[in-house]
């Protein structure tokens, strides 16, 4: 086992753990950024410089947009319902499964640690995605899930080529931007949280920006 890769895998998992369990919104975002920055490095061989740079820029951009969306004093998100130790055990168990089943039935082209980290991230993403009741927490879960899937892809299929890395960067940035704008929009009513609402907008103009002019 490559110790450097093991260290990166650990950073990915710890970042994901923080993202999934922290109640402070910005701490959780920081955890996600660590995960997204470290994930592309968890490959053997490393991606080309162009692809790697694109991934890093996309991860930081996504994190920055989320950071902007959480401006305000002590904004909180849902955090883990079961506590971070339970999440940590869950992630560890998933990582063991991922490591043990590396290749998923066929010879793999990437490192087993990528599969392990990918499984851990996917496991950590399930709870926020399924039970999340605020926009940011669900968004963080989606970030973890996509990062996990990309790691599994690297573990199974090997290091992506430059074009795929660029497209991955586009996906990461789009996801970050989408969650950021949704989180920002959720707060436009003045409340300092990201809670979802069961009430649907019943606009007289239906789904339009404003009422169209009446018949003449």
């Amino acid at each position: 086992m490559n110790p450097a890769l093991a260290g990166v895998a650990l950073a990915v998992a710890v970042g994901a753990l923080v993202a999934g369990s922290a109640r402070n919104a910005r701490t959780a975002i920081l955890g996600l950024v660590v995960t997204m920055v470290a994930a592309p490095v968890l490959a053997d061989p490393l991606p080309g410089s162009l692809g790697l740079a694109a991934r890093l820029v996309a991860a930081i951009l996504a994190g920055y947009l989320l950071w902007v969306a959480t401006r305000g004093p002590r904004l909180r998100t849902g955090g883990s319902l079961v506590g971070w130790p339970t999440d940590a055990f869950l992630a560890a168990a998933a990582a063991v499964v991922g490591y043990g089943s590396h290749g998923l039935g066929a010879p793999a082209a990437g490192p087993a640690l990528a599969s392990a980290a990918g499984f851990a991230l996917a496991a950590l993403a399930i709870v926020p995605i399924v039970t999340g009741r605020d926009v940011l927490r669900v968004g963080l879960g989606l970030g973890l899930l996509i990062s996990g899937a990309l790691l599994v892809r690297t573990g199974v299929g090997g290091t992506p080529d430059a074009l795929e890395e660029l497209l991955t960067a586009g996906l990461v940035a789009t996801l970050g931007g989408t969650v950021a704008i949704l989180a920002l929009t959720a707060r436009t009513d003045g409340r300092a949280d990201f809670e979802m609402t069961a009430a649907l907008p019943r606009l007289s103009s239906h789904a339009t920006d404003r009422l169209p002019p009446g018949p003449r």
Partner: protein, 559 residues
């Protein structure tokens, strides 16, 4: 290169319109210009081109060209209809962004890269859910849509990654084969909002303008489905044999969507939800096609997707026309709509014929072939009849349309063009007055144009069925199953295959218009070269020359 131009142009206009979002009029104008430009560059796409860039490759085909032309035309028509009848300021921009993502998704030869773009495109569409004065509710629906898109994306990434490597070392077929297939099929179902994954899609109809709905729930997911179809035919079908339980799940989702979506559309109170469920019902046929693993349904499925997307867009334009003209979307309040608006009545009739069809119509025959290809036994006629269920909700709308109006709906001349004499001293006010006076007429006319287009496409016009029958372009691969290799640069004739190589372009032979099982000289066409021998199967494989090849047909599993 022509596809790269399309992608660059649409992305540039998307970025420009997004940058000017704070100035809605300007952003909308830029987006409309972008949509017009998109039509031009889509028409200019040359089928059969291959562009190698950054270790990946983009290929064009007649079908891709047709799909992008239709998408651009529909996008422009619905954007104008939305402007006349009321829409969201981001809708045209989102349409442009989705066009760019669809172009890339269909053009990319590596399915692992294509699913990334398809997912990003779906996430970009969430922008339309941002409701003015209803931020939290819009954000709630938006994050639910994002959840569906991202989960679908994650499933598709994992599924394509599993197959996208050298599988020659396999000695036994693991259960993961079926799970990967099921994962991608479920991903497509999630993107369409198929039953039972439909809750987010149903809510979407509450906040998204009717003119933007087909883009989010039909056009963009259709590109995902086309990618899944190609992936299944090229990667799954040649090697996987025992997909019985997995196929059953896919069939169950498809049949539930076809039947229950029609029931749901029938009982809805407002036309936006009818539109939403009608899209889900038609998407059920697409999902059913994913269960018909084999070459027989390849052409019909792509024909159906083309016809379904256009027919549902035309239906959306009709809904927008009704809302613009009658100021309501409640079905109970629409008594007499057909008597009041001949324009919308004709458009409605054409939409019904295009989407339900009759024997001899290309879309109808394609749907029949899909059902017969995916199902066997007594379920086949039952599902065939179920695909005609939309007649029920169309009939309900028509009956209400011919009832005596119970209120004054609008002046009779609202459905005719109203043009006052041009006042050269005040052109701008004249334009504004004319636009306002013709809002109902404009939306109705656009609905009529799209309905004619839908009927023509359903009838096989524009070369749709021929383009749909073309096999997917595949690059030569050093791996025996023809799947994209891990970390390997695709090889195009005369192009360097190193990562980061400058884009190079090579004209490649057009894939043949029909399955080439008998004429293939593919060295790996011998089924004994695959780890899992399918009797009489001729799996797709690499060509000796490293050029785009037409996949060879594979018999449907379980048929």
């Amino acid at each position: 290169m022509s596809l790269v131009l399309f992608v660059v142009v649409t992305m540039a206009f998307t970025g420009l319109a997004l940058g000017l979002r704070a100035r809605p009029r300007l952003a909308t104008g830029i987006a409309l210009i972008g949509l017009v430009t998109a039509i031009v560059v889509a028409v200019a796409i040359v089928p059969g081109q291959l562009t190698v860039v950054g270790g990946g490759a983009l290929a064009t085909s007649a079908y891709l060209r047709l799909f992008l032309i239709f998408g651009s035309v529909i996008g422009l028509a619905l954007a104008v209809s939305g402007l006349a009848g009321g829409s969201r300021r981001d809708a045209p921009t989102v349409t442009l962004g989705i066009l760019a993502s669809v172009g890339l998704t269909l053009g990319l030869l590596d399915p692992r890269a294509a699913v990334l773009v398809a997912t990003a495109g779906g996430l970009f569409g969430v922008l339309v859910t941002l409701v003015p004065n209803g931020g939290r509710a819009g954000a709630t629906i938006g994050i639910r849509e994002s959840r569906a898109v991202a989960v679908a994306g994650a499933l598709a990434i994992a599924a394509t990654a599993w197959f996208g490597r050298d599988l020659s070392g396999l000695t036994a077929q693991p259960v993961v084969f079926g799970l990967a297939y099921l994962g991608f099929a479920v991903a497509v179902a999630l993107r369409f909002g198929a039953i039972p994954f439909h809750l987010w899609a149903a809510r979407l109809a509450d906040v998204v303008p009717e003119t933007a709905l087909p883009n989010l729930t039909a056009y963009a997911p259709a590109s995902h489905a086309l990618g899944a179809l190609a992936w299944i035919d090229l990667s799954v079908a040649p090697i996987a044999q025992d997909l019985g339980p997995d196929r059953l799940v896919v069939i169950a989702i498809a049949v539930a969507s076809i039947v229950l979506a029609a029931v749901a559309a029938f009982v809805q109170d407002d036309i936006e939800h009818i539109l939403g469920y009608s899209i889900i019902g038609d998407a059920g046929v697409v999902i059913l096609a994913l269960a018909a693993i084999g070459p027989d349904t390849w052409g019909p499925t792509r024909t159906w997707i083309l016809a379904f997307v256009i027919a549902r867009s035309a239906f959306a334009a009709w809904v927008a026309g009704v809302r613009a003209g009658f100021w309501t979307g409640r079905v109970a309040d629409l008594r007499g709509w057909a008597l009041r608006s001949p324009l919308l009545t004709v458009a409605f009739g054409l939409v019904v014929v295009a989407s339900v069809g009759f024997p001899g119509l290309a879309a109808f025959d394609a749907r029949t072939e899909i059902v017969q290809g995916a199902l066997t036994g007594p379920l086949t006629p039952v599902v065939l009849v179920a695909t005609l269920a939309p007649i029920a909700y169309y009939g309900r709308l028509l009956v209400i349309g011919f009832l005596r109006p119970d209120r004054v709906l609008e002046p009779v001349d609202a459905w005719r063009p109203v043009v006052k004499p041009l006042d050269l001293t005040a052109v701008r006010p004249w334009l504004s007055t004319t636009w306002d006076a013709n809002r109902a007429f404009s939306t109705g006319a656009i609905a009529l144009v799209l309905a004619v287009m839908a009927l023509a496409t359903a009838g096989g016009a524009f070369g749709g069925p021929a383009a749909a029958a073309e096999g997917p372009p595949v690059l030569a691969s050093p791996h025996p199953l023809g799947a994209p290799s891990a970390s390997s640069a695709p090889v195009a004739p005369g192009a360097p295959a190193t990562s980061g190589a400058p884009p190079s372009e090579t004209a490649v032979p057009q894939p043949s218009a029909e399955p080439s099982g008998t004429s293939s000289t593919n060295p790996s066409a011998d089924p004994t070269e695959t780890p899992f021998v399918a009797p009489s199967a001729t799996p797709a494989g690499p060509t000796a020359s490293g050029s785009i090849a037409t996949p060879t047909p594979v018999p449907s599993v379980g048929q």
